[in-house]
Point group: C2
Chain length 350, copies 2
């Protein structure tokens, strides 16, 4: 989606992706190699003028090597922070952004004391390499401790209070190299099985301003360049910082049709030094992920305002195979269009 | 732009283009060969499930060979008609679509009699291989006859009354294999030096219904599948048929941002057998072509509602290097945004 947004800006793309099936491969040169492959990195650095990533589990050492040779946006500091739940939470605390109670847990023995401090229910999450609900365990009772520790395979983790939230919100923002920042409408997200299912951009959300304030602090602190997503829980009408994604984010996919400048185009503008684009919303809209399978394309294509985006990936349990954005002129029309969509693809609805 | 619209639909692309610099090459497999190269055609036919063209000077014989092996949309009949100004005009006449007076001119000797019948001023146009004002000559006086005949290099031509038009309109439409048709808002076009400069989609144009009627007749007559553009002159408030383009068309580029489904996506939907998408307009908008040179990208990117589309082509006199679409919520905002654009890129304005 970055490449699709970038060609009209006159950009060219080279992708480093270890998967031979990389869906970006059709849209530019594909270096099919491990992220740390020295030859591939040398070629990447020799060809590119600027480098970015859209997957935050790129090894930090690779990012640092690239950043030593040419502009990497976002930079290693943002990547390091986004890769480590503990570093994230500490950053939020330092920036006076409220977070659910948490404790670092490096050893099994530390888990009991952490649980004592945090209380039940709680979530044990690996500090690193977790996404889409992977590397997590819920603790409902003391007896779940051993099983949870096994679930995270004894890796350095954090134990965190499982908050009862009213809503999950994300704030997408883009920051340019000169410090200019633009925010998108906050998005209300619904997950199932740890995977994002639906995103609803919210006009005039009472928490818009607060979300921007918190997100702005993070962008500043990380000297961030590019698009960042900040995910929040809403508890008692207030935001609690959950995590950041230092990249274009699934909860911003609606912006392709729904905003004047998509998150993809704005990320590219930021990292190539162009002025940022208008983030104003163009349509009322809703975004749904296609998990495991995508609804029949012909059924979707028959519906007004329904925009399918298939990723050309082979189906695999839990895999995001595409997303669908529904646009409308007003909330009533959106409601009608969602009803039409639900009739042909009820499985999309969380 | 077809490929950019097609990837989200899960399509894959192979391009046959004789130019080594083909700008589509970055977006799929590029067969760099002459259109009539037997090996390239064999590979194209072996790989593709459906074939289309976005340039109507593909040799008809090639189209016929492809169509004998797999679905080609639009088909050879549409291509043959679109390639020949005389066939076009005769089709319009047969369909009771008014046209400016014209006469076929195959030999120099026929020119005098034709001019007698048509009157001055007149246009002499080659029947084939004309586009962007190439292969045309204006006759203001009898004495221009020889020079005009030289300008068309003695090729089979038509002599046509040069009408004094109030406006130039085009009607973009898409027809599916099952006969379903959708029309976009008619577009008011401005040419300079025979090249399209500006397109303004018109809400509630008094000629919308008539334009649809005429375009629908052509689509039916040609058993057309895909997007077609029909260009008209407006004289005394009535439409005169000028020419058709059997392909996605420059005057429909605004639809990428401005319509719910772009002309590119709708062309792909039609030729792949998907239901057609909604052609409703999403924004007030205007489209400008970048001829000879493109304005500095950074200056464009700084303007709200301004969407640059660069084609990655090397500059050449008269070449279209890109286009710019300006979107807005209402006509007043569009006016303001056009004023802003004019301040940084006055050369775009006709």
């Amino acid at each position: 989606m970055l490449a699709l947004a970038g060609y009209p800006l006159g950009l060219e793309f080279l992708f480093l992706d270890p998967s031979p099936d990389a869906c970006a491969a059709a849209l530019g040169q594909h270096l099919c190699a491990d992220y740390s492959d020295p030859g591939a990195l040398a070629r990447l650095c020799a060809s590119a003028q600027v480098v970015t990533f859209e997957f935050e589990n790129v090894p930090l050492a690779v990012a640092e090597r690239v950043a030593a040779r040419l502009p990497l946006h976002p930079g290693p500091l943002a990547l390091r922070t986004g890769q480590d739940r503990l570093a994230e939470k500490k950053l939020f605390q330092r920036l006076k952004i409220p977070v659910p109670p948490f404790r670092p847990v490096d050893r099994r023995e530390a888990l009991d004391a952490a649980l004592e401090a945090i209380g039940l229910p709680a979530l044990l999450k690996t500090r690193r390499l977790g996404y889409d609900g992977k590397g997590q365990a819920v603790l409902h009772q003391r007896e779940d401790l051993d099983q949870a520790w096994q679930a995270v395979r004894g890796q350095p983790s954090i134990l965190e209070r499982k908050v009862i939230f009213e809503r999950e919100l994300s704030c997408l923002a883009v920051r340019a190299g000169d410090g200019a920042v633009r925010y998108y409408q906050v998005v209300e997200n619904t997950h199932r099985g740890g995977i994002l299912r639906r995103s609803l951009p919210r006009a005039d959300d009472p928490l818009q301003r607060r979300a921007e304030e918190y997100t702005g602090r993070v962008l500043e602190a990380l000297s961030y360049v590019g698009v960042l997503a900040f995910e929040f829980f809403v508890v008692d009408g207030e935001l609690l910082g959950n995590e950041i994604a230092p990249r274009v984010h699934n909860s911003g996919h609606w912006s392709i049709e729904g905003a004047e400048t998509s998150q993809f185009e704005n990320h590219l503008r930021a990292i190539t030094g162009l002025p940022l684009g208008n983030t104003a919303t163009r349509s009322v809209c809703a975004m749904f992920n296609c998990i495991d399978e995508a609804p029949p394309l012909a059924a979707l294509a028959a519906l007004a305002g329904v925009h399918p985006h298939l990723y050309g990936k082979l189906p695999k349990p839990g895999r995001k195979l595409g997303h669908i954005t529904v646009t409308a002129a007003d909330p009533a029309e959106l409601e009608q269009r969602l009803t039409n969509l639900k009739a042909v693809a009820p499985e999309l609805f969380p």
